[in-house]
């Protein structure tokens, strides 16, 4: 069986699945049960300085649902822990003492001055926790007080606080990044420049999940008013994957350890983050939706896939997808594909036809008997039919063999790679030699 053991900046865990700093990791009871369920690690919900903060006394979460009310996105306006610092520290110490082989990282958020950090770091160190995660990510509430994403949005602050922490603790320092910025590479570079050991991302996305059409209040509604929250869950996974990839392939941060977070719901999601360079993965919404037991599927699924593929350990897959992330301009324009509909799998719903006919390239024919066929002379291989088809594997994209003629363009499919940088329509392309 594949070895899932993980060593992330020196923090060891039996598997890469950590619970993210969030409501599930707010107290000893939860964390013990999470470890019993099999989670490899937890990042304890963010501690702050006393007096501890307070939370609203109304709804903290909003949601977006898919079919059958499947939770696709969850938004929260909960703040950092609302329990006294010493209670949390005592519990962390207890749990760590009993669960030596699990990762226990403590998330921290204190005002942006060195004294505050100097004050809290030794207290955490005394718990024998494995590391700290600097919460520069939460976009709601605390950011109004100059913390959370207010820090994460200013690379200079990230660098400065990272440096303070590294100077004042022996524990590994992970910087948790907010996605509520324009270019994730700058905060990541700042963390590295400040000496941090790793980054974790993404924290939640600023969001309003819905508006109550009776009261005209945003949700979650507190006495008729709403405030933007932080969005997580399956809906944010694509945003997170991209940001992880951006950092992984940025020459300035290449190789910088990343703990991947954002909508990880199944083993497959986790494997994708790892393939894009994540050293560990953090989960929250999936646990909040289904309970701690989801980790069993994550462990078994990742193990089975690794066994099937012959990957002995996580090192064999980590970062494997990074070299394949590139800029659009380097994509091979000589690669030509066509949609193919498997008539045996087709259930004749016609969604591919409606999508293509109404909104794309009119490249699917509807024939008698509700038979749907691709018109190769119109198909640009956009993939929309694949995406709207309700039957997995029914429609696929098939690459054309070089040397054959693309009926859409009438041109022979070239064997050689060619991209936009040299394309004749590109004004910036180098001039071609006279023929």
């Amino acid at each position: 069986m594949a070895d899932l053991s993980t060593d992330f900046v020196g923090i060891k865990s039996p598997n890469p699945f950590w619970l993210a700093s969030a409501p599930p990791t707010d107290k000893e009871y939860n964390v013990r049960r999470a470890f019993e369920a099999g989670w490899g690690g937890v990042v304890w919900k963010t501690l702050g300085l006393d007096p501890h903060i307070v939370n609203v006394n109304g709804p903290r979460y909003g949601a977006v649902w898919g079919a059958d009310r499947r939770l696709l996105g969850l938004n929260n306006i909960e703040l950092i822990t609302d329990r006294p610092l010493d209670v949390n520290l005592r519990e962390i110490k207890q749990v760590k003492r009993d669960w030596r082989n699990r990762a226990l990282v403590v998330s921290l958020m204190v005002p942006c001055d060195e004294e505050s950090w100097k004050a809290i770091l030794p207290l955490v160190e005394e718990t024998e926790a494995d590391g700290i995660e600097l919460n520069f990510g939460c976009p709601h509430g605390m950011s109004e007080r100059g913390m959370g994403s207010a820090v994460g949005q200013v690379p200079e602050y990230i660098e400065m606080v990272s440096r303070w922490c590294k100077a004042n603790t022996r524990m590994p320092v992970i910087v948790k990044l907010t996605p509520n910025i324009t270019d994730i590479r700058y905060p990541a570079r700042a963390a590295r420049a400040g000496g941090a050991d790793a980054v974790s991302l993404i924290n939640t996305v600023s969001s309003i999940t819905s508006v109550d059409l009776d009261t005209f209040s945003p949700e979650p509604s507190i006495d008729g008013k709403g405030s933007h929250g932080g969005y997580c869950g399956p809906a944010v996974k694509p945003i997170a994957l991209n940001m992880v990839a951006e950092i992984a392939r940025d020459p300035e941060t290449a190789g910088f350890p990343i703990s991947g977070i954002g909508g990880i719901t199944t083993w497959r999601d986790a494997a994708e983050f790892i393939a894009l360079g994540a050293g560990s993965v953090q989960v929250c919404a999936a646990a909040m939706t289904y309970g701690f037991r989801v980790v069993e599927e994550m462990i078994s699924g990742l193990s089975q896939w690794m066994d099937d593929k012959g990957h002995a350990g996580l090192d064999a897959i980590r970062g494997r997808a990074v070299p394949n992330v590139t800029d659009w301009q380097y994509l091979n324009l000589n690669y030509v594909a066509k949609a193919r509909i498997d008539q045996d799998l087709c259930i004749h719903c016609g969604r591919c036809y409606a999508a293509c006919e109404d909104t794309s390239h009119q490249a699917i024919a509807m024939k008698p008997g509700r038979v749907f066929e691709v018109k190769d002379d119109e198909c640009v291989a956009c993939n929309l039919c694949v995406n709207v088809c309700p039957v997995e594997g029914c429609i696929s994209m098939e690459a054309m063999t070089p040397g054959t003629v693309d009926p859409r363009t009438g041109r022979v499919v070239e064997r050689e790679y060619a991209n936009w940088t040299t394309h004749p329509n590109n004004p910036a392309a180098p001039p071609r030699a006279a023929e």
């Binding site: 079919a67 059958d68 009310r69 259930i347 004749h348 719903c349 016609g350 969604r351 036809y353 409606a354 509807m366 509700r370 309700p390 039957v391």
Partner: protein, 445 residues
């Protein structure tokens, strides 16, 4: 002595009243709002959806299901009722397993279609629970139309005509309207007086004057109607029944299944409705199934359906056959009754095996005898005796072309009495509706 299923002869109250009441409860209970949302989420919103093509009234099913899924069942009902004003009844009685739900792509994909019928019932129940009527009449046209027959075809026709602004006079031979909805279909498909409730709701459109107890051939003549109205629609159904070609059918206990069902439907106390200990039902259609299952539910000990052809040729759907089998009804195929025996009342039915040959069915010579106290015939219905002679017939029904035009100018027909189409409630609704649109076109130019 308190009767039991084994009491000899034909007797009421074979089961405790509570058990009979439970037996006749809703066959397919309404979806709860939660169930409706879960069910609606399964619809793929197909392009040019096959379910719509399979619906005789062409209800835009993907649209109404999406309207339910997005929390607007009233809008869903409007989508349904715009095409089929008896969408509430059709949701209950349509053989959807051979119509929309058979065509559903999820039936192809998973063998489990979207529950279209129950979703349609959900939406129409919500709409009909609201006060008022969801449609508004057009301005009066000054034209008057006579509709004869207040069954599904007549009601659909009358409603559409009223909607278009015509003054409608709706006639029916019986003391109340609804036709087969009220007198024909199995009680457990539309319990709680739904047929009358739907009729009353439908009449809420206004502009429809109702005359019950007015039968064609009695006070009512086609000549008179043509003289007094600008157009006439006949939705008179099938008033006669085919006779059983067996000896001894005069014996007590032999009767048409439709009469048995009508009596059952009009009974206000099913515990007092008599049924045989051993009931034999002859026929292979929905009427046979309905009669057999309801006999069983009333407490008959043994119920047997005799059908002359193979099971696959029964016009009752597989679902209906399974429903009967599930209630303990025995279905014997390739069998005909040849002689009803008894001393005054039925005691036995002599049956013969038949097989299909080049010249049709023929008896194999092998026979057997079933004990029976009651024999119900469900071998097809015919036009009643009072059809005006001027109307040309085709295959024993009023010949119609296009949207219900008969051979007589100014007279339209639809539903079971008219040629073509399946004898289904939903087909009758479509024909009545389409005839109304054609009448409107003819009257308004």
């Amino acid at each position: 002595m308190i009767p039991t299923p084994r009491t000899l002869g034909i007797a009421p109250g074979r089961l405790p009243a509570e058990e009979i009441a439970a037996n006749f409860a809703d066959l397919a209970p309404p979806l709860t709002p939660h169930e409706a949302l879960v069910a609606a989420d399964r619809c793929y919103f197909c392009h040019d959806a096959p379910c719509v093509a399979a619906c005789p009234t062409a209800i835009d099913i993907p649209l109404f299901v999406r309207q339910i899924a997005t929390g607007t069942p009233e809008a869903a009902a409007h989508t349904i009722l715009s095409q089929n004003i008896l969408g509430g009844m059709c949701a209950r009685v349509c053989p959807t397993e051979t119509l929309c739900e058979e065509a559903c792509v999820r039936e192809a994909a998973e063998g489990r279609p979207v529950e279209i019928a129950r979703l349609q019932r959900h939406a129409t129940d919500v709409a009909m629970a609201r006060p008022g009527h969801p449609f508004r009449r057009a301005a009066p046209t000054g034209r008057a139309v006579a509709v004869v027959g207040a069954g599904p075809a007549g009601l659909a026709c009358a409603h559409r005509l009223a909607l278009l602004g015509h003054a409608v006079t709706l006639h029916d031979a019986r003391p109340k309207g609804g036709g087969l909805n009220e007198f024909g279909i199995a009680a457990y498909k539309a319990p709680g007086g739904f047929a009358q409730a739907e009729l009353d709701w439908l009449l809420g459109i206004g502009g429809i004057e109702v005359r019950y107890g007015a039968a064609l051939g009695g006070d009512l003549t086609l000549r008179d109607l043509r003289a007094r109205f600008d157009a006439v629609f006949l939705g008179i159904g099938l008033g006669g029944v085919n006779a059983l070609a067996a000896k001894g059918t005069h014996r007590d206990g032999v009767r048409p299944a439709v009469d048995f069902i009508a009596e059952l439907r009009q009974s206000d106390d099913l515990a007092r409705l008599p049924v045989g200990r051993r009931v034999v039902v002859v026929g292979g259609g929905m009427t046979a199934i309905d009669a057999a299952v309801q006999s069983k539910l009333l407490g008959a000990e043994e119920v047997t359906i005799l059908y002359r052809r193979s099971r696959g040729k029964m016009s009752a759907s597989g679902y209906e056959q399974d429903l009967a089998a599930g209630h303990g009804v025995r279905i014997l195929c390739g069998v005909v009754p040849v002689k009803v025996k008894g001393n005054g009342a039925v005691r036995e039915v002599e049956c013969a095996y038949v097989e299909e040959g080049p010249k049709g069915l023929r008896e194999t010579g092998e026979t057997f005898t079933l004990k029976a106290d009651q024999l119900l015939t469900a071998i097809g219905q015919t036009l009643g005796p009072d059809v005006p002679g001027k109307l040309e017939l085709e295959g024993g029904k009023i010949r119609v072309t296009g949207p219900g035009q008969t051979s007589v100018k100014g007279v339209w027909a639809g539903g079971d009495c008219a040629s073509g189409g399946d004898d289904l409630t939903v087909t009758a609704v479509a024909e009545g509706r389409d005839a109304a649109i054609d009448i409107h076109r003819a009257l308004m130019g």
